[in-house]
Amino acid sequence: MFRRIWALAVKEFYHLRYDWWMPAFMLFGGALELILVGWATSRPMTNLPLMVLDEDQSPASRQVITSLENTGTFTLEALVFDETPIREAMVQGSIYAAVIIPPDFSEKMASANQVPILAVLLNGAESTPATAALRAVEGLAREMGQEIAVKRLGIDADEFAGFDFSVRTWYNESFSEAYYTTPAELALMLEFTVLLFAALAFSRERELGTLEQLLVMPLTSFEIIIGKSIPVVLVGFFDFSLMLSMVHFVFKVPIRGSLPLLLLLALGYLFVELAKGMAISVFSRSQHQAFLLVMILGFVDFMFTGYAAPVESMPKFLQGVAQFIPAQHWLAILRGIMLKGANLQVLWPNLLALLILGLVIGAVSLRYVRRALS
């Protein structure tokens, strides 16, 4: 039996040699995606083009402009003299924000109890940079406001600690985005690659008409399934290890918990996705169909993983659905082990859920695939 399974697995690998794009993609596509994500999210928003309309033209207003530039968020695109060029630039999408300093700004700054006004215009058609711009201007306004308050109240500036309270960020002391995004991407890439690879296993043979040949060979359906699974498991697991070392060594994300436990659970999770992929594979009549099903099912999973949007903010019904998504528990386990250094005592609810889901999905899939093959 082992000899026959082995022969089939070797045949599959033989295939891969002639069709190396897919395994290459599985190995390095994930790594590439990781680089893009890690890199895109680690860059702070800087050099956003800004227009300033200074109607005050005073030392105080020029001070504001300098402070705006010093935030590091902005590059001064132009000093304008009325609102028309601002409107034009916004419609064209060439600036994300503009600041207007009204004529009485310095006067109010100097007075004892008047409130100086700053106006900021934002380009809502590009909300991400516009929000970054708003945050920067708000920070500046808060600083200036505190200076004014301290001056007017006659408090000793050194004694006044402001409204800032101390914040500690656990598990991710520098509040780095990479800590959050790269493990999540790693978890999801494992799902997508295994699902896709497994989904092509039988759909391809069926489309090319070679499935019949496979079925008339002296192999039981069980042996066929195992033989088909071996390359998926090997390549998938290698892929995971590669991406994990990248997350660790390139993006400096720590692995605080037990590495053997993480690898073991990754292997276990891999089998759950393998079972799903195999079921898609025998269901699909062509590779095209298998691909589309993987995209749809994979992205629906993605919605419930808590990566894109936190599960606890979703409607109650969807929170319930999320409990039945293996990827959600897997992501909680992966993050728990990597970032929080969690052990089995902490992770057992997720692990139990994953185990039950895995057994159910595995059993249903095995039954379905075996029936389809015989």
Partner: protein, 377 residues
Amino acid sequence: MSLRRLWAVAVKEYNHIMRDPITLGLVILAPTVLLIVMAFAVTVNIQHVPIAVLDYDRSPTSRAFIQRMTAGDDLDLYAQVDEFEEVDSMLLRGKIKAAIVINPRFAEELLAMRSMPLLVIIDGTEPQSGALALDHIASRTEEFLSQKLAQNLEALGAPSDSLQMLDLRVRTWFNPGLKSKNDVVPGLISLVLGLPAMSVALTLAREREHGTLEQLIATPVGRSELILGKMLPYILVGLVNVVLIPTVAILVFRIPFHGNYLLFFLLSAIFLFAILGMGTIIGVFIRTQAAALALSFLVIFFPAFFLTGIFFPIAALPEVMRMESLVLPGTHFAIITRGIFLPGVGLDVLWPYAIMLFGLGVAFSAIAALFFRKKLG
């Protein structure tokens, strides 16, 4: 080029698509599902973030403070604990996303106006809810504090309005409230409408995998006819999505649409031509569908995600990436969709992007046709 032969290829491909209704349904459904899932992710209001409070002061002031923190839907008081270890364990188990620790002399120190006698702990593995919790705690602390300060000042006989500091007036154009969904969802349309391109790459690779491409070559059909004929049915399928997807965006996600629908339809067709051209190049280079799939992910899907300015603004990209983003049809189309949806601009602003898209489409098809001959000639 003969239109009759082009038509013949298109009809053949059309018949092929129609013979497999499940795949056709999926081709049409996949972009919509993708849009719904991703739009949902940016639409979810992050609310009900569970927090724990450890109150060492237990004064009326600290109780009032806690009350203010947990009023409303943003932060939910998961537990009020007595020991720091409990905070630790709840964070570890993911039961709470943030914790507030109130110092023993909270009320006194607050009265002295020196510092903020408060420690906030954030779960750094969940930056979205963590950052949100932090924002809420900060702004409510500020409110609470300025109220306290005003009371103090009035007690001292000073006018409390001298606390008013700087009035920042924010005006947001095109998208009141600066809701990210209003510009991300139109941007996503350019991502999901690119999916048919992957289908084109697959069908071209399929002909070769099955060995039927040679049969096609043997007919008097020219290569540009073959390529355009292959693209045409998918442009049609894509146009179904051009109707379907904005409808979902407008009706389900309530994205305002201020522009001209006809213009949107027209420019979408040009975009489909350009992005399908990309798919065709892949299909021409590759011999198996699995490989075509892998390459489409690398060339079409990932860059569309990261380099077209949907989530990460182009202005923040480094120079090299910015150049690359210019040859991606999605970059220009994302500007077009956002422009038509939000400010509702017309061709007078969008014409450079439309021309760019058309140019890319012509260039991609030409490259595909050129290499097609070399590979098989």
